[in-house]
């Protein structure tokens, strides 16, 4: 959650702990317990508290719960991490347990981009294009060291993913074990259950870049800023 006074938004790592939680607990808002029991929330915590209690309706929570349990990852294997991403689809670390086995080839049908592998400068515009083609709400996991930071190769040809697209979860490792990637996906699931938007439009100053499909015509896919300035 971005704050207006310019300090970087802080997500409390305690709140992202992956815990067993069933739907009814989630809907009733029990996830705040255990974070700072007994203390009065203030600052960002207060905003979150209010948003989660008052502004966020039960319907929103139900939608967030449904969204988090049915990510459709886009097949986006770039390099070595792609092999470990294939391993999570395989039987040992079975991603189908959680409902994420429907890897969609088309980005228009996917909502989770697992960037697995090194992003070279030739590939970066294409990754951005794929990310733009995904429908909202969409999330991105940067898997492995190469796209999270520069990884093993800090040189002229690689770009860290954060430079050109918003990333929600970074999974470290080279390559991360399939269990580690699964942990990252489950962390994302927890984040989505709390707040699907995760405020990234504010973080990235991206208000006004929503794509609005005009009725008819071939120019339907152009980005149209909401305020009408073209």
């Amino acid at each position: 959650m971005a704050m207006n006074d310019g300090s970087p938004g802080h997500i409390d790592p305690q709140g992202l702990r992956v815990t067993r939680q069933n739907a009814s607990q989630l809907l009733r808002g029990h996830e705040l317990e255990g974070r700072n029991p007994g203390a009065d929330p203030e600052g960002t915590d207060l905003e979150r508290f209010v948003e989660e209690r008052v502004l966020t309706t039960t319907l929103d929570r139900a939608v967030a719960w449904a969204r988090s349990n049915s990510f459709f990852p886009a097949t986006f294997g770039l390099a070595c991490c792609a092999i470990e991403m294939m391993s999570i689809v395989a039987a040992r670390v079975d991603v189908a347990r959680f409902g994420y086995e429907a890897f969609r080839a088309s980005p228009r049908q996917a909502d989770l981009l697992i960037l697995s592998g090194r992003v070279s400068i030739k590939m970066a515009p294409i990754v951005r294009r794929i990310y733009d083609q995904m429908l909202e709400p969409k999330w991105a996991i940067s898997m492995g060291a190469c796209c999270s930071s520069m990884g093993v190769f800090n040189n002229y040809s690689l770009v860290p993913a954060e430079k050109f697209m918003p990333v929600d979860v970074h999974v470290p490792g080279c390559p991360p074990r399939p269990e580690a990637l699964m942990h990252g996906v489950l962390k994302l699931r927890k984040m989505v259950q709390d707040d699907p938007d995760m405020g990234w439009r504010d973080r990235y100053d991206a208000r006004g870049t929503e794509e609005v499909v005009q009725a008819g015509g071939r120019d339907a896919a152009e980005n149209v800023p909401l305020d009408g300035a073209s």
Binding site: L78, F153, N154, N155, L158
Partner: protein, 423 residues
Amino acid sequence: MSEANGQQLSDYRRREQSITLSPIEEQIGEGQDDTREEVLTLNFGPHHPATHGVLRLLVTLKGELVQEIKPIVGYVHTGIEKTAEDKSYWKVIPVIERMDYLAYHFNAYAYCGAVETLLEIEVPRRAQYLRVIHLELTRIMSHLVWLGTSALDLGAISMFWYCFREREKILDLFEYSTGARMHTRYLQIGGVVEDVPPGYATKLSGFLDEMPERLAQYGALLNNNEIFLQRLRGTCSLDASTLLSLGVTGPLLRAAGVPWDLRKAEPKCSYEDFSFKVPVGTVGDNYDRYAVRMAEMGESVKIIRQALDGLPEGPHITTDRKVALPPRHELATSMEALIHHFKLVTEGFRVPPGEVYFPVEGPRGEYGCFVRSDGSSKPVRVHMRDPSFVNLQAFTHMARGDYIADMIATLAMLDPILGGIDR
């Protein structure tokens, strides 16, 4: 993207922009001769489920027949060779392992072999046998991933889970002996980084016992499968002389009938101690490529069995302390060992100047590592001749004149690994 800076865009960038949809001026077939055919250039973009990795293909089609394929690579170019110039010799090993990311021990072996040739050091026999065990396990693992993803492309989806089940067993073995599943940095200059732990032989033996039966099961699923045969048999064959002129090596060349295998022709690392056959195809079509790789997995099992049974005693890395780290227990007692350790870890060893090219036989063909050294502790040039890069040149020759579905099957049988192609 906008019209305003259209002039500043280079030709290349303009081609990379979105394809604008323009209405078709004249309807095909209406008022025209219906037999007129269009030549269509299709972009199999870098993001595509059927290309194995980020390979971009510009396919020119006439109807459904492929006229020409232009592969565009470079989408995962990592500058590994340039990065390797910046690091001391043993630090290059983790970097160079990540080139062909399914045959990581082979990358490391080609490099270590080149540096050992420059240094003129001898690798102990036990280290050679351990290297062979890991290399052949990597070969089986690479072929399993190939089989799983190729069968997935062709529609035999359940093969993916079976192959990855075996792959998990191999990765367990790697984790047991080296500590990591992928990119294990196990092969070091002078030998291997550490000896195998107790119990490894039992685990490996158990894996080897069940592997032939699994291979037989996979064969039973696929070998006589009608759909598989129709997709693969007789499609996209290429004769041996064209393959040789294109520089193709590995199972692709062997499928066309040329029994060229560096493990037999130029045996290094004690491969001459093991008796194994080299599977060779006859026609060179996709089915032969598939059969050659399946048979190679069985032969690799035999090699590992022989290596395990005949594993000699001895050091696991060269005893030359100027090149290899001394064992940790010596550091407490010997000053010399401490000094060696310090020198090796901070600066690294110096390699006499020279250039050498060291070829090895990997799962996709000939991996050749070229290392040039100028006497300092960092290599001046490291280049990997990657087989996928050279084999890709044959792709358009293979698929020309066949259907686009056969092109997909050929790409699967070609087994390209983009990390190796782009480096």
